[in-house]
């Protein structure tokens, strides 16, 4: 089947291209054919993009949910323990309230998950695929990568309480150095031990340079491991459009290690969000590690599409059925789109208007 590119919208074109990309790296499609019980989502609400979930009671009386997310189902369906790596991609509609919105929407979402013996290479592959996904959508993209383990090492070095660490992470996510200082001061912390945390808050740029700067400031085994992992993972990721930026944070109940967000110029929020989520695996009783990301396809509607000057090529004024059918077929097989009408003033914009008899 041949599909002319001109009939595809940005989102449809992207879906085909992304599916081909993920297939090329050994990812097979995961189809979510049934609904999950509400409990699956209720126990992991802060993992969801939006906490609102549409529920219904199935014929057996169980409270079910209209899928707000796909990753949780993929994790739930994974065996408790297995060797090797399972690579899947999904292409599903999910149902949730967009941020700042007031009502539920059906939202197209694509994503990949890499589950099992997910080593540094796998994380590197996932980040590479995130960068390649952005590049397929726009030449002007930016993938911002962070390491939650390094942030955790910095808050421990500073001596922050768990609540202080959460507040510090929030201020770092806002690129608010003044607010970060206030968090530390509120816990009586002003010394040199806070310096790595302040440095991390401002660290943003080309990965090799940022790592070099951070290496000199951090001490301790945890920080060294996190810096080493960051360097190792990013050594396999194409440099173009990729930056280290520690304002990318995630809920540490689910995420750990490398996390990232991807942007393209012209879309005002993150188009891709993902990272390593070993902590979610552990919460769900799985003895495995995992990494993945979601692409919020609905946001592609923000990108400009070429404006069409006409609705159709030909406005065909109908005659008798046989003549009209033959005329429409002839025009259509010549590659022109046709709108048949008896009313020449029907409001349709066409390149030309012809009577069916003139074609036959």
């Amino acid at each position: 089947m041949f599909i002319p590119d001109s009939v595809l919208h940005n989102d449809e074109r992207a879906v085909f291209a992304l599916r081909a990309l993920y297939g090329g790296y050994g990812y097979t499609q995961y189809k979510m054919n049934k609904f999950e019980e509400y409990d699956l989502y209720a126990g992991n609400k802060s993992f969801l993009v939006s906490e609102d979930v549409i529920t219904f009671t199935d014929r057996g009386g169980r409270l079910m949910a209209l899928k707000p997310d796909v990753t949780l189902s993929i994790v739930r369906s994974a065996p408790a323990a297995f060797s090797g790596v399972r690579r899947v991609f999904y292409d599903e509609n999910v149902y949730r309230v967009p941020k700042g919105g007031s009502s539920f929407k059906e939202i197209k979402q694509l994503g990949i998950e890499c589950i099992g013996d997910t080593d540094s290479y796998c994380v590197s592959e996932v980040i590479t695929l995130a960068a390649k996904s952005l590049a397929l959508i726009s030449p002007e993209y930016r993938l911002e990568v962070s390491n939650l383990d390094l942030l955790s090492a910095a808050t421990e070095l500073a001596g922050l309480s768990p609540r202080g660490a959460a507040l510090a992470a929030e201020r770092i996510s806002k690129k608010d150095p003044g607010g970060l200082r206030e968090v530390c001061f509120a816990e009586g912390l002003r010394g040199q031990n806070c310096e790595p945390l302040f440095l991390l808050a401002g660290a943003c740029g080309e990965p090799a340079e940022v790592i070099k700067t951070l290496c000199g400031a951090f001490r301790g085994e945890k920080a060294a491991r996190a810096l080493d992992e960051t360097e190792r993972v990013l050594s396999g990721v194409p440099a173009r459009g990729v930056a280290l930026d520690f304002s990318v944070v995630g809920d540490t109940n689910y995420y750990n290690g490398m996390v990232f967000k991807g942007y393209v110029n012209g879309i005002p929020s993150a188009l891709i969000s993902g990272g390593r989520y070993d902590n979610l695996m552990a919460r769900m009783g799985k003895n495995a590690r995992a990494a993945g990301f979601a692409v919020y396809i609905d946001l592609l509607g923000e990108l400009p599409e070429p404006a069409a000057d006409f609705d159709f090529d030909v406005l065909l004024i109908a005659s008798d059925v046989e003549t009209t059918a033959k005329a429409a077929e002839k025009l259509n097989s010549g590659g022109e789109s046709v709108f048949v009408t008896r009313d020449a003033n029907c409001g349709i914009r066409a390149r030309r208007t012809v009577r069916a008899e003139e074609i036959i």
């Binding site: 700042g100 690129k175 930026d245 304002s247 942007y263 110029n265 012209g266 879309i267 005002p268 929020s269």
Partner: protein, 212 residues
């Protein structure tokens, strides 16, 4: 949406004018800016900055949705609406506080639900949640000080600058909730693509806001 221009949303009114003069003194003004004009958009020329005047409570929406790359919003707005934006700089201007105020001599009867009139529903709810105090929020959009005087509420949660309005209405501050000042905010996506210019502006404004 982005082009080569940096879109700046400023709050209409005194604060916006003060912040605009900071931009101007840092060399980021708009040559066609007219005071006391009804025009809403200025600039977009040589230095690539285009200024919009918008309602103060809408600045964060313009920035979060990417219609503006950066903007200036009060911390009260950021606490209330929690927009997903970067908060790059405390401009140390527009300094005031969110506070709880009540009629002079007010005593909180903990056996009753406290009636709180405010336009900052989230800030008020979080403040009283942290104290474990049950409240009933009455959402108002203006003249909040009237509420306790007419018995509509027990207390109000509102912005207090000098306290003159409270004093003139026989009200007083009974608790401080949060300090407030104007913040330079940026859209998270657009920041990455215009980082150098935004950081330049941020550095220049920081120098000037410290001097002021």
């Amino acid at each position: 949406m982005n082009g080569g221009v940096l879109n700046v949303a400023l709050p209409k009114g005194r604060l916006g004018e003060k912040v605009y003069s900071l931009f101007e003194s840092a060399g980021f003004g708009a040559p066609d800016m007219e005071k006391n004009s009804r025009k809403l958009i200025f600039g977009g020329g040589e230095n690539g900055l285009r200024f919009f005047w918008v309602k103060p409570s809408d600045v964060a929406i313009y920035v979060e949705r990417g219609a503006a790359d950066v903007g200036v919003a009060g911390r009260d707005i950021l606490l209330e609406y929690e927009p997903d934006v970067y908060e790059l700089l405390d401009l140390k201007t527009g300094v005031c506080r969110v506070a709880v105020a009540a009629k002079k001599g007010f005593r909180d009867d903990k056996r009753r639900t406290l009636k709180v009139a405010t336009k900052f529903a989230r800030i008020a709810q979080e403040y009283y949640n942290a104290q474990g105090r049950e409240i009933d929020i009455i959402k108002l959009n203006g003249s909040i000080e009237l509420a306790p005087i007419l018995g509509l509420s027990d207390v109000i949660v509102d912005i207090v600058e000098t306290g003159t309005t409270l004093k003139e209405n026989d009200l007083e501050v009974v608790a401080e909730v949060a300090p407030v000042s104007a913040r330079l905010i940026a859209n998270k996506a657009n920041y990455g693509f215009k980082r150098e210019l935004i950081n330049d502006i941020c550095r220049s404004l920081a120098e000037r806001s410290v001097r002021e």
